[in-house]
């Protein structure tokens, strides 16, 4: 067996020896692809048939090398970007609590009510008149939440805005801070009035 295989090798070596040009041509590209990136400049021109196999290999390599940084650069920002939102995501959560402390003061209706009662910017009769109008409006909201139509929410909103404007116009010159806080609470107050559950909780 060994003799046969040696003979076969000899024959093969003889064949390779008889046709040296093709044999050396084939290996060099492989070697060039693997080890010499600079060689490809001449082989592609020499071997049109082998070029598809050899040329693509060297050329993609530099291209990949060239494009890799480019692609890595664009890919790099997106990859850091997701971590950034992840990092930013915790940041908003601390920011949200920071904003919430600002929101609660406007939401503190009891405090606003007390401040409105205590302010010296409005006379006693005016306060009583305002209270009457607030009670009237709250009564209309009660009717609305009780299922009575009219009033609709669309009708109640202008009435709410008008009353708020009256309060603000009375306060703005002499108790600007309270006027600002009430104005900041405008949507919160409307939210309480318009939402049946919140309204029931507040009026109970």
């Amino acid at each position: 067996m060994r003799a046969r295989s040696i003979a076969a090798l000899v024959v093969l070596s003889g064949c390779t020896a008889s046709a040296p040009p093709p044999a050396p041509e084939a290996p060099p590209p492989k070697i060039a692809v693997a080890a010499q990136p600079a060689a490809p400049s001449s082989p592609p021109a020499q071997m049109p048939a082998a070029a598809p196999a050899a040329a693509p290999a060297p050329s993609p390599a530099p291209e990949k090398v060239a494009t890799a940084p480019e692609q890595a650069a664009p890919k790099a920002p997106p990859k850091p970007a997701p971590p950034a939102p992840k990092v930013a995501a915790p940041a908003p959560t601390p920011a949200a609590p920071a904003a919430k402390p600002a929101a609660p003061p406007p939401l503190d209706l009891k405090s606003l009510e007390d401040r409105l009662k205590d302010t010296s910017a409005i006379g006693v009769l005016t306060k009583l008149s305002l209270k009457n109008q607030v009670d009237d409006l709250v009564g209309r909201f009660k009717a609305f939440h009780g299922g009575q139509r009219p009033p609709t929410l669309g009708e109640l909103r202008p009435a709410f805005e008008l009353l708020l404007m009256k309060v603000l116009s009375l306060l703005q010159d002499k108790d600007g801070a309270l006027a600002r806080d009430i104005n900041a609470s405008r949507e919160s107050i409307w939210g309480v009035l318009a939402d049946q559950d919140k309204f029931a909780r507040y009026t109970s």
Binding site: G123, T126, S129
Partner: protein, 77 residues
């Protein structure tokens, strides 16, 4: 007799002062405006009783402003 006169004078003075109180004028002006009545500004008023006033406006309108059953009522006179 003397005491009664002093008391009467004091009450009259107090009423006169109250009628000139700018805060009360502002209060009446605001109440009249809140109730949607034309007035502009209260220039004078007369006290008729507890929480009961007759206010005279700049535009010559006169209103009785009083409290009845916890509600402020503004009536044109």
């Amino acid at each position: 007799m003397r005491t009664f006169a002093i008391l009467l004078a004091t009450c009259a003075a107090a009423t006169a002062l109250a009628a000139a109180d700018p805060k009360q004028k502002q209060d009446l002006t605001a109440v009249i405006a809140l109730n949607g009545k034309p007035c502009g500004e209260v220039v004078s008023y007369a006290v008729q009783g507890d929480n009961d006033f007759v206010a005279t406006c700049k535009d010559k309108n006169r209103y009785r402003v009083y409290v009845k059953e916890g509600r402020v009522v503004v009536e044109k006179k």
